[in-house]
């Protein structure tokens, strides 16, 4: 039990107080937390992050955040932005939604992404295609090669089956409910949670159609770098892969570093790798021709 109400603290009083019985004490208590460092948090401004990506000028940094196990993050990014995801400890699972930031009813289409590129597996040089025949982002670097375009996000029911519960307010959040919170903050809702891709946790498809999960854990520090080809909203959830066979909730922090970069040039090798991709870039350039 606290006793007497305090006098208003002197301006700039450095002492830590545990008195929160009045606004002055509560304010001092709150402000004393400033500067606390935890494993999973954003760094603002992002150029004050501990280790900037090699060759990136501090003023070009856009986003530096470590997303908690079971957590989520999202950001609007401009054309040309690079986003490097790092699986810091080998057990991150980056479930990804991508929207056209100007017109979010255009979004990643996973079926078109694999069908148009004639391949089931994501990797370096592959494009993330929208449902409007355009390329939202491309994979410019892939040090992981274990990704998944087929199994999608965990949900409350699947997490409840595996871990006993799966709610946002509990210890086992599911990717779908993380997406729901993330997209709500852009004015989007349940209908906007489109089929997703999972980075760092992979699947292979056997000749009989069987889905074989490859969920690690993997070596720490694997990276994937995406390049924004349109103005995008990138949404990330970091929850255990839905087909992870391990009985316990295993997921480790996901690092995000993003920085400004040039819009993809006409002679870019990824842009020109396939005729389908060339036309996807033509469609992007047509969209921005205003």
């Amino acid at each position: 039990m606290r006793t007497a109400g305090p006098a208003r603290p002197a301006q700039g009083a450095p002492e830590m107080t545990t008195n929160t019985a009045d606004p002055y004490g509560a304010q001092a208590h709150a402000r004393a937390m400033a500067g606390t460092k935890v494993e999973s948090m954003p760094t603002l401004p992002p150029w004050e992050a501990e280790a900037l990506p090699a060759g990136v000028a501090p003023q070009d940094m856009l986003w530096a955040e470590t997303i908690a196990p079971g957590g989520y993050g999202a950001k609007r990014l401009s054309r040309g932005a690079r986003v490097r995801l790092t699986d810091l400890q080998g057990d991150a699972c980056a479930s990804v939604l991508v929207f056209n930031a100007e017109c979010p009813v255009e979004r990643l289409n996973v079926a078109d992404t694999v069908k148009v590129q004639w391949n089931a597996y994501l990797g370096e040089g592959r494009l993330l295609l929208s449902d409007m025949g355009r390329v939202l982002m491309s994979l410019v670097e892939d040090g992981a090669a274990t990704h998944d375009a087929f199994c999608g996000a965990s949900n409350r029911a699947s997490n409840a089956r595996k871990y006993g519960e799966g709610d946002n307010w509990g210890p086992h959040p599911n990717a779908r409910d993380r997406f729901a919170l993330a997209v709500a903050k852009f004015g989007l809702g349940r209908k906007d949670i489109h089929p997703c891709i999972n980075l760092f946790k992979g699947v292979r498809i056997a000749s009989d159609g069987a889905v074989q999960p490859h969920v690690g854990p993997f070596a720490p520090g694997r990276t994937v770098t995406l390049r924004a080809e349109m103005e995008v909203i990138l949404v990330l959830a970091n929850c255990p892969h839905v087909a992870d066979p391990r009985p316990d909730y295993r997921v480790t922090p996901l690092r995000v570093d993003a920085w400004r970069g040039p819009v993809t040039a006409e002679d870019d090798p990824i842009r020109n790798a396939t005729p389908e991709g060339q036309r996807a870039f033509l469609n992007v350039e047509d969209y921005y021709r205003r």
Binding site: D112, G189, P195, C196
Partner: protein
């Protein structure tokens, strides 16, 4: 009456109609009812989505279905799950070995990537879905990865994937039993640039029995 296409269905026929080549279709299927789709002339892709009649933000999820059954192919016994993990329907039986749910729906826009900009004005499944869903207040946000009954999309060892010659034939069918009240929405695929319809879109028959 001895209509072979009705064999094995529950006795009460709620609906029996033919969807013309290239056309959209939608209908309520109540819990316990069986929807039979008959591939009348063979190798006609039937693009298919489902929405919970009670809450259309809950809809078919190809990814949840694949993850839960551990296989990309839909066969007899496949349970078709919603985006919230609930069973929407069960593949009660089919005379085709397997059906696709990874190939998605053709669109005017994706056709420009796959075949060239000369195909932009051709009719496409997304146009059908938008038209059918539009009558019920649904729109583009309601487009998700669909089922393609009677369509063949194998995945090779190196990941190569594509719509290839079909494995269906005239008169083959699939029976889907609704596990909740649902709205089934179909595009009888108008694609003419790949073998999903044998390069010749044809009618299909929809029968709902209870």
């Amino acid at each position: 009456m001895t209509d072979a296409a009705l064999a094995g269905l529950p006795p009460r026929i709620v609906l029996d109609e033919v969807v013309p080549a290239r056309a959209p279709w939608d209908h309520l299927v109540r819990r316990g009812e069986v929807l039979r789709i008959v591939d009348l002339e063979g190798n006609q892709a039937v693009d298919f989505l489902m929405y919970s009649a009670a809450d259309d933000a809950e809809r078919y999820s190809a990814q949840d279905t694949i993850a839960a059954q551990g296989n990309i192919f839909l066969k007899t016994g496949s349970v078709l799950l919603s985006n919230e993990g609930n069973p929407m329907a069960t593949v009660l039986g089919t005379s085709v070995a397997y059906h696709d749910t990874i190939g998605g729906a053709c669109s005017c826009e994706s056709n420009t990537l796959r075949y060239g900009h000369h195909t932009k004005s051709q009719h496409a499944c997304v146009e059908n879905f938008l038209q059918a869903n539009g009558r019920h207040g649904r729109g583009k946000r309601d487009m998700v990865s669909n089922i393609n009954w009677f369509m063949n999309v194998p995945v090779e060892a190196d990941g190569a994937l594509g719509i290839v010659d079909g494995i269906s034939a005239p008169g083959l069918y699939v029976d889907i039993r609704a596990e909740m009240d649902l709205v089934a929405v179909v595009s009888n695929c108008p694609q003419i640039n790949n073998p999903c319809n044998g390069f010749d879109p044809t009618p299909v028959r929809m029968i709902i029995a209870a």
